[in-house]
């Protein structure tokens, strides 16, 4: 099941992030599907990517306006998204909504560690510098601004360096 590779005996002492903190498959489907079942996630991604571009969420300028309090736009986007997301999660829990395969939908609590503060601040710096968080980085590539691929590679390098040094970082 889900804990196969991250069982408590091997990684517990160092796995500060723990699976539930990350967006890894903490509650992946226990069913196995052929690869093309993943196309439905691509379809959700297409809609999501269109919204990113059409509402100018991937705009470097919108992000600068947000951090300078010069525009309400991004606050409206994130606020509405959280409200809709929270209402959806509430309804899923209340009515015990199941997946299309009939499985229970599971939620896991995140646990606090200092990484959310240090890492959060560092990511905030990067967000204001690049004008993009990870989703918009990929979407910007789709709009044809190919130089952003260097930023994506650099973000992959940053993730790798974190993975390499994480045991020595305060959490």
């Amino acid at each position: 099941m889900a804990q196969d590779n991250f069982n408590s005996t091997t990684v517990a002492e160092t796995d500060f992030e723990v699976r539930s903190l990350d967006t890894m498959c903490v509650n992946e489907s226990h069913l196995t599907h052929r690869w093309y079942h993943n196309l439905k996630y691509a379809a959700v991604g297409v809609l999501f990517g269109i919204a990113f571009v059409k509402a100018e969420i991937i705009s470097w300028f919108r992000i600068q306006e947000m951090f300078r309090l010069q525009s309400f736009h991004m606050y409206g986007v994130i606020g509405t998204a959280v409200a809709v997301g929270a209402l959806s999660v509430f309804l899923i829990k209340k009515f015990k909504v199941r997946t299309i395969y009939g499985e229970n939908i599971e939620f896991h609590d995140k646990t606090f560690n200092k990484g959310q503060i240090y890492g959060g601040l560092l990511f905030g710096f990067g967000w204001a510098m690049t004008g993009a968080c990870p989703g918009p980085l990929f979407a910007t590539l789709g709009t044809g601004a190919m130089a952003i691929s260097v930023t994506i590679l650099s973000a992959i390098a940053g993730t790798w360096v974190y993975g390499y040094f994480r045991d020595r970082l305060p959490h």
């Binding site: 590779n5 991250f6 992030e17 967006t23 509650n27 690869w35 439905k40 996630y41 691509a42 959700v44 991604g45 809609l47 999501f48 990517g49 269109i50 509402a55 100018e56 300028f61 306006e65 300078r68 010069q70 409206g76 986007v77 509405t80 959280v82 809709v84 959806s88 997946t99 299309i100 499985e103 939908i105 939620f107 995140k110 606090f112 990484g115 503060i117 890492g119 601040l121 560092l122 990511f123 710096f125 690049t130 968080c133 990870p134 989703g135 990929f138 590539l141 789709g142 044809g144 130089a147 952003i148 260097v150 930023t151 650099s154 973000a155 940053g158 790798w160 360096v161 993975g163 994480r166």
Partner: protein, 187 residues
């Protein structure tokens, strides 16, 4: 219809679509919305290099690569066939400030003078695109998520560690944009 789609979408339309991504992924297959995890999965798939953090079955996360692939395709569709023919409106105060740094091209989603191959070879472009990208990758994983995993998915599930992370994202952004970025943009 096409004309309607070509206009920039208001914040509530985008907010609703992004918010609905949360239940869509949950109902389609018990998946938790989160994009920065893909950066980790790429490391696990391509350069695990014996690092414990990257030793897991990344193939189980294949769905997330499909999701990101969809985002890239959606962005391509929107920018090629649904593009807004008018220039992007930006706040006058921001335009004035950026002009002071020699940034005058506001026609695209990203400032053409900053996000370009030539810019990468300037100190300013290198710091913003390469160092900035590194901080995005390092910081999101250190924090255990990004705007999607913490600010949207985490807050939707009323997780207080996600609220702390989100506040730190914003605090870092405010500090950088207002206190440090002006010096970098002057380079």
């Amino acid at each position: 219809m096409l004309e309607f789609l070509q206009q920039p979408w208001p914040w509530y339309t985008a907010g609703i679509i992004i918010g609905l991504t949360v239940p869509a992924l949950l109902i389609l297959g018990n998946k938790h919305f989160g994009i920065s995890a893909n950066l980790r999965h790429i490391c696990a798939a391509c350069f695990p290099a014996g690092v414990k953090f990257f030793q897991y079955d990344w193939k189980k996360e294949l769905w997330n690569f499909f999701f990101v692939g969809g985002i890239i395709a959606g962005a391509f569709i929107a920018s090629h066939w649904l593009a807004n023919p008018n220039p992007v409106q930006i706040a006058p105060a921001l335009a004035t400030e950026l002009q002071g740094y020699g940034l005058t091209d506001f026609s695209g989603m990203v400032p053409a003078e900053l996000v370009s191959w030539e810019s990468l070879f300037t100190l300013r472009g290198f710091i913003l695109l390469v160092v900035g990208g590194f901080l995005v990758g390092f910081g999101t994983r250190y924090a255990g998520g990004c705007t999607s995993g913490h600010a949207i998915m985490g807050l939707s599930n009323l997780q207080w560690p996600s609220l702390i992370a989100t506040c730190c994202f914003m605090a870092g952004g405010f500090l950088m944009a207002n206190l440090i970025l002006p010096f970098i943009l002057q380079l």
